[in-house]
């Protein structure tokens, strides 16, 4: 088989063997509906409850604070719409940031159409929000602060504990989208004063289409999915049992030997970054150098465009992603790159390489070698690079 190097682990990951093995019986032999009273039903019910415990444990939450959903997007929608609708008599103001995932941003925009007001906090050049700006944005009408734990494009990790403290002091509900942070960062919802937290299985070597929302005990929010009595009347629909089992196993494994695993991934990340910086000029690291997810590498390469980098990498069997407009089908480059202040031209030339547990040192070295060739080749084709070289303006 052709060599294939997957460096897009922030987009999704492959299901780990151990996770798949746990899931398989629930497709066929153990196919009962968890709501059924006979034995086959209870087998499924027991499996779902085990997974709930596995998720709760890593968050330092209680079992009955975990609700399964169809993924990160649903969890974000539920948290934000649910809190907004439940609290609309109290206030109509929500605070978020400009660099949230679209699952949060588009949900906030939807609520704006329905009478809510949203403050989108700026971020600095590294993608960090300013805590003083957050405090200043709070009004008597503020009912929710929703700030992502770590950014999916540039990997920047927000000061979640401090945000939690500010929310608590002001008696405001705090939601965080932890889809990218889960499996890389130790999270303690109690110590961090997190009221709601979204997570998803497919970023941590679990299956796609399943996630969870942590809802702090006693917190009331409206339902998003109405129907049957599943998930204690709060999220209807026959449980995605095999998916939930996969999520439970995946999250448990993700927090086994977390430090050791992170150490390895950070080593690979730093090697990748150092080599890119040694071998290429006119580049810019996007995101923060240290407050950064272990597996995230994101650079802009001046004078060239991201999609042509991706196509060239793909031709070499390397999977990566870019914030260029050309890869999204829209006219503007990524909102995250614009929010950290990149001019459009530079934002178009961005490349994200995201590392995971299966990447190796040889892969890193191979990718850098190919990347340098590709960047050189595309730059030689670029009128911008040739103007820069010859000084012609």
């Amino acid at each position: 088989m052709r060599k294939y190097i997957y460096m897009d682990n922030a987009a999704t990951t492959k299901v780990r063997k151990e996770v798949l093995d746990e899931m398989l019986p629930y497709f066929s032999d153990n196919y009962g509906n968890p709501s059924s009273i006979y034995e086959l039903g209870s087998t499924s019910r027991v499996a779902v409850e085990k997974a709930r415990e596995q998720v709760a444990k890593v968050l330092n939450a209680e079992k009955n604070e975990i609700f399964f959903t169809a993924g990160g997007s649903e969890s974000d929608n539920w948290a934000i719409k649910g809190v907004a609708l439940r609290n609309k008599e109290k206030g109509n103001h929500i605070i978020t940031s400009k660099i949230e995932h679209h699952a949060v941003l588009h949900t906030c925009q939807y609520l704006e159409k329905h009478g809510f007001e949203v403050t989108y906090l700026d971020v600095d050049e590294y993608g960090l929000i300013d805590l003083e700006e957050l405090k200043a944005a709070i009004t008597d009408n503020t009912i929710l602060i929703t700030i992502m734990y770590a950014n999916n494009e540039i990997g920047t990790i927000q000061p979640i504990e401090e945000i939690g403290k500010i929310a608590k002091e002001n008696n405001i509900i705090f939601h965080t989208d932890a889809v990218q942070a889960i499996g890389s960062i130790k999270i303690d919802v109690k110590a961090m004063n997190i009221d709601l937290l979204s997570l998803s299985a497919h970023k941590i070597y679990g299956p796609k289409g399943v996630g969870a929302l942590y809802i702090k005990k006693g917190l009331r929010l409206d339902n998003l999915i109405e129907g049957g009595a599943q998930e204690r009347n709060r999220r209807a629909g026959t449980e995605n049992v095999q998916g939930i089992v996969g999520l439970g196993k995946a999250i448990e494994l993700a927090y086994e030997n977390l430090d050791e695993k992170n150490e390895k991934i950070i080593y690979l990340r730093d090697r990748l970054m150092n080599k890119i910086e040694e071998n290429l000029d006119y580049i810019r690291l996007n995101g923060h150098r240290t407050k950064r997810l272990p597996g995230n590498v994101n650079y802009s390469f001046e004078f060239i465009e991201g999609e042509s980098i991706l196509l060239s990498l793909d031709m070499e069997g390397i999977a990566a992603s870019s914030g260029s407009a050309c890869t999204s089908g829209s006219l503007d480059p990524s909102h995250v790159l614009l929010a950290i202040g990149l001019p459009h031209g530079i934002a178009h030339g961005s490349l994200r390489l995201s590392l995971g547990i299966y990447n190796t040192e040889e892969e890193v070295d191979y990718v850098v070698g190919k990347l340098v060739e590709i960047v050189d080749r595309l730059r030689n084709m670029s009128p911008l690079f040739n103007e820069r070289k010859t000084g012609v303006k």
Binding site: E305, E307, M315, C326, H344, M381, S382, P383, K393
Partner: protein, 146 residues
């Protein structure tokens, strides 16, 4: 893959990349803001495009569009080059995804811009260029801020 084999082939092995020192006309269209810039160099003798080179900043389809456009006009007359449409570029590439059709428009415009430059420099009037509207090239200021 969203692109045809033809697009990928031209992206992998673009024809006529580079610049011409002794170009008779040079045209540049697009801007870095939108993510595409094309620059065309034409060498014209006796009304014939003797040589053509391009430089492109842009996505795969922008590079493929410029490459194939140079092939379509090389050795042709100025009038033939003038009549090259973006549709002809799209067809020669066995199609482009709808969001990428603007790349073929840029290729057509880059050639016309180079012909206009040639016309101005040589004093030879070219039919159909007077009312031509180019996309602004405003990338310089932006790169300066970086």
């Amino acid at each position: 893959m969203m692109y045809s084999e033809k697009v990928m082939e031209h992206f992998k092995n673009p024809r006529n990349v580079g610049e011409l020192e002794d170009a008779s006309g040079v045209g540049q269209v697009g801007n870095a803001k939108c993510g595409d810039i094309m620059k065309m160099f034409l060498k014209i003798e006796d009304g014939i495009i003797e040589d053509v080179k391009f430089q492109t900043f842009g996505c795969g389809s922008a590079i493929a569009s410029s490459s194939i456009a140079t092939e379509l006009i090389k050795g042709k007359t100025v009038d033939e080059a003038m009549s090259l449409t973006n549709r002809a570029v799209v067809e020669a590439l066995d199609g482009l995804p709808p969001v990428k059709v603007h790349c073929s428009v840029l290729a057509e415009q880059a050639i016309k811009a180079a012909l206009l430059d040639y016309s101005k420099k040589s004093g030879i009037k070219i039919e159909g260029l007077d009312d031509f509207d180019f996309e602004e090239d405003d990338h310089h200021g932006e790169l300066e801020n970086y």
